[in-house]
């Protein structure tokens, strides 16, 4: 407990210093960064929770996207008849379910035919954007949109409330709550302990009588659900309309955020904020310097490779 708090404090300090350097140089606001932090935290948790059970979920990207399709279907179905107090929780459930279903495919393949989840989740990332495109180019295309591939705008009741006059929406609160919950559940509950046992040594867990397959499956479902929640928040809090390319790369950046901090939920808040600052910087570079949006991946990949290399060297020298 003490150790993890100390680690969290250390990474908080690191972020503070990094942002103090970053913010004056480039023209970005804390507001934008907080908005961007939200999906990164949730997509990071989508990696961190399964990772504790020894799983590699690279599918946050696809789970995020599929959830947006499910959320939009719900909005189109009942959005005009229900008021916000009921509709928003309903949409959150739709997002959680959508993400869980998409991760569930990989989970099912893993526990039935032992197909490695890193590969199946990765391949599924290429499928759900096509489902989204099918709907917005086809049945859901808004006729008043000058033929752009977008859905009807979300009704007011289906929009996440924002704080005051800022762009910052309720999502950041949900993300922080989710991170704290994940930390508490993984580190301090019975179930969290069994997850870590399975992740540490599945064979030992099996011999100890733990239902390994069920734990693995549930961990992946929870991961998918969290990525789905991120999709729901992004589409109801920022975009308020379904279109292609919402949040492209968020799932992969969440993967990076989680690996940066060794899959520890509290520190994930810090790494997500740092990556959000880089990502928002990337946006402004894209607008101001005309760079393609994917070039921000270069910076992120270099950061991850350095962290992986350094951490690897440290564990190596300890082992020798």
């Amino acid at each position: 407990m003490k150790k993890s708090l100390r680690r969290a404090a250390a990474s908080g300090l690191a972020i503070l210093i990094a942002t103090l350097v970053l913010f004056p140089i480039v023209d970005i606001t804390v507001e934008d960064c907080l908005v961007r932090t939200t999906p990164f935290v949730l997509c990071g948790l989508a990696v961190a929770v399964p990772a504790r059970a020894g799983l590699v979920n690279i599918g946050g990207e696809g789970q995020f996207t599929f959830a947006m399709v499910v959320v939009t279907a719900t909005v189109l179905l009942v959005g005009d008849t229900i008021d916000a107090f009921l509709l928003l929780p309903l949409l959150a459930v739709a997002g959680l379910l959508g993400g869980a279903v998409w991760a569930g495919i990989a989970g099912l393949l893993r526990v039935t035919v032992k197909l490695n989840e890193a590969l199946s989740t990765l391949l599924l990332n290429f499928v759900s954007p096509l489902i989204l495109a099918y709907f917005v180019f086809g049945p859901w295309r808004d006729r008043s949109s000058f033929n752009l591939p977008v859905s009807k705008p979300y009704p007011d009741a289906a929009q996440l409330p924002t704080f005051g006059l800022t762009q910052v929406h309720l999502g950041i609160v949900l993300a922080v709550v989710a991170a704290v919950l994940a930390w508490a559940v993984l580190d301090f509950t019975r179930w969290g302990f069994t997850v870590r046992v399975v992740g540490g040594n599945p064979e030992a867990a099996r011999r100890a009588g733990l239902p390994v397959n069920r734990i693995v499956f549930v961990a992946l479902l929870i991961g998918g659900a969290l990525a789905g929640l991120a999709g729901m928040i992004e589409v109801t809090g920022v975009e308020r309309v379904l279109r292609p390319n919402i949040g492209v790369g968020f799932g992969y950046i969440g993967f990076l955020a989680s690996w940066l901090v060794g899959h520890r939920p509290l520190e994930l808040l810090a790494s997500s904020f740092l990556l959000a600052s880089i990502s928002v910087t990337g946006d402004s570079l894209q607008i101001n310097a005309g760079l393609p949006s994917t070039s921000v991946y270069v910076l992120m990949a270099v950061v991850l490779l350095l962290v992986l290399a350094i951490r690897g060297l440290i564990t190596r020298s300890k082992a020798d």
Binding site: A51, L109, L119, Y297, L304, A309, G312
Partner: protein, 312 residues
Amino acid sequence: MLLEDVLAGTVRSGISVLYAAEGELISERSGVINLGMEGCMLTGALAAFATASATGSLLLGVLAAAGGGALLALVHAVVVITCRANQLASGLAVSFLGLGLTSWLGAPYVSQSISPLNRVNIPVLSAVPFAGPVLFQHDVLTYMGLALGPLIWLFLYRTRAGLILRATGEDGAVAFAYGHSPTLVRYLAVVFGGMLAALGGAQLVLAYTLNWVENITVGRGFVAVALVIFAGWEPLRATVGAFVFGGSLALQLRLQARGVDVSPFLLNMAPYVLTLAILVIASRGRARRPPGEIRAVFGTSGPGSTRSAVDA
């Protein structure tokens, strides 16, 4: 001739994945999974395109591709072999490094096009009806790709170097005990694998698309990694897998061209769904054991895991 058309298209669109799959196979047979193949393919594709359009020489383009792919794979090799970081995370990061670098550096090339690699019709054989257009009216890179599966099979099972490679992938400690350096073998295998993937990228732009767009490979490198598992780490089966993928691409394009009344987005899913399906089929059949060192990576990919193999 729909069938002839589709089969010729199968060869042309499957070859790039075939290169990447055989490259990944070499790398995995030495004990290193490389999810960075997507990045290597992209690097190869852009290097080939940029060099070919600047110099007009397709040969220089192919060489530049090989160099670029080798360099990117070297990054992965350093991080996982020397620093012993998690292979899946490092590979994914390398893929994103490739994606980011190529979309940044490739931006000026987006609207350009180049002249294709020369088709070389094989004398006599290319005139054979049906088989001719399908197999013997292609470019040099495609012929090389067709020969790749058998060549790698020969290398793995009929040469001493191939034996050392397989031994290293099965158990690095044993190879070390017999006086070979697992580190060196793995470095060579990973870099060579990245080079092959990059040649696949080069074939993609020089013989197939003839232009450059951001993220032109759309997951082919990842599909290649999947195909290696489907193939049970056997080069000839990997060839078959690559052509199944190429076939679904070719068929889907042909159907779209014929104006079949199915949304193109749904048709575009076919190659990925099919790849998943053949992975499922492969895992249901007689399960093939992955190389020993790979099993360690797939088994413990949790936090803080490092491989315990004895490296020199």
